[in-house]
Symmetry: C2
Subunit: 329 residues, 2 copies
Amino acid sequence: MPGGPKEAYERVRSVFEASAAQVNGEPCVTYLGAGSAGHFVKMVHNGIEYALMQLIAETYDLMKRGMGLSDEELHEFYAGWNKGELESYLLEITCQIFSKKDEKTGRRLIDEVRGVARQLGTGMWTSQSAMELQVPAPTIDAAVAMRNLSVLESEREAAGAALPRTQAPFPGDRAAFLSQLGMALFAAMVITYAQGMAVLKAASEKYAYGLDLSAVARIWRGGCIIRAAMLEDIREAFSSQPGLPNLLLDPELGKKLMAHQEDLRAAVVAAARLSLPVPGLMTALAYLDAYRSAWLPANLVQAQRDFFGAHTYERVDAKGDFHTDWEKE
Amino acid sequence: MPGGPKEAYERVRSVFEASAAQVNGEPCVTYLGAGSAGHFVKMVHNGIEYALMQLIAETYDLMKRGMGLSDEELHEFYAGWNKGELESYLLEITCQIFSKKDEKTGRRLIDEVRGVARQLGTGMWTSQSAMELQVPAPTIDAAVAMRNLSVLESEREAAGAALPRTQAPFPGDRAAFLSQLGMALFAAMVITYAQGMAVLKAASEKYAYGLDLSAVARIWRGGCIIRAAMLEDIREAFSSQPGLPNLLLDPELGKKLMAHQEDLRAAVVAAARLSLPVPGLMTALAYLDAYRSAWLPANLVQAQRDFFGAHTYERVDAKGDFHTDWEKE
């Protein structure tokens, strides 16, 4: 299509590329695809961003309420995590946030900030679109839900008084847990990118965007809020396997996830015991465990649907749709 | 409004009430409110239904893959649970499903049903509407995501081979855990109703439905898929406190939840250790723990938003919106 948006991009490409952030000599800008492709990719970028921010906040909660770490210690931990596999813009600013002093009180500013997280809608649209595309993105969903829950401040205060939480002492080896927690965050972040990329893949097919997911990962490596070292592995996965259905099926990322799944489990178990809400870490773990389950208990859900609504079911041993009168003896 | 829908209902009321299911002498039918009120209430009924079905499926997974129970034993457990506090239509049919024999193979039919759960959209619409209303409903969201994940059968098979799950022996006391699991389901079901009712409350305010939540709970006690003994407690809660912001703030239900929160925690901890996906139980627990947290780590999320987007934040010690240049020394 001469004169179309792709050609228009080609005409200004050199200007865009020269002014964009560069990673490994490659500009973090590209023509993404037909129609609303660019907007959709930016929306999912923000959905992933919501989930990553929620996950980082949960590690903060585990270290602050769960282990009693000070802001100074939190600054040090996030600075350490921001080296190596977890290196990312969000960890970089998290680390800086914990060192920022409040001009008014002289204390750390983070402790003067109310725990009410606002939104402009892009995370919600990502979850709503994922559901429309029938792609599971439970960690993004949980992040959206938690922003909405954070706003209910007076209800939370009333519930905190009526249903008080007992602060249990941290169970187990603190130093070992702290080193696990960083890798739990790593695993949950990989799983979040997997969910987001799966949304993009389905959207590209349904809306004929013609997305190149390796190009998406490539331009996200710099100049945006979800830039992260692990995006290089993600770019590589889609570059070598353009038809990859899900990042979890990439051998390299799969190996890293398996190496750190016990860290993610440990974080979830500790939070459940300490009465700390970690729906991001929990849904990431559940997504991993469900995605790698050839068998799921959804057979019961479908049997219930057939029982009460004659919605039919499929059989493991034959093709077709079947219905049973389950009440008949 | 003479001649309006409410008056039209009044004219046929006696016919409707006579043909409806009756509970405690009360008909399970009523005029719900203005505009699309009836449709919205039925949609949220279905969203709650999705979540309850997912929760029951998760208890099935814990008992089947986690503990190796047979279909005969599962039938017995669900039959036992269907007496007392968990009594409900969905447990009744679950119990019946586990005793149903397959005419073709002579085995239990449930094991011939493929674990692919379909949907007609009402659960998705509930989650999408809840997000639009900015009401957290994470357990309904998780149920929608798990239906979508169940459909990805070939991907799950590939992931099951590439990222194999090791079946660990059940940790701890089996009999004690089984008695806890029923009450974990009870707690998660109460929390699910709390999420759904909160969606209805917000919708009633935004769309001027004029809903009476005690009437909603009253008509759900019979003749519908989510009928459950606990709806009598829910009806009572909204009847005695019409302005109740959330079911978790009802003293009676709050007391029951506190009595069984450790059961819910035990189920989540066991599932995480056994690599069994229980996002419904997990998000229910996270909702409980977040809702009763006067303090949440959302202050970090809002600080990050102010850092990268100048979205401002609120302070704990002063009214107004504030912005800080977080990078400035």
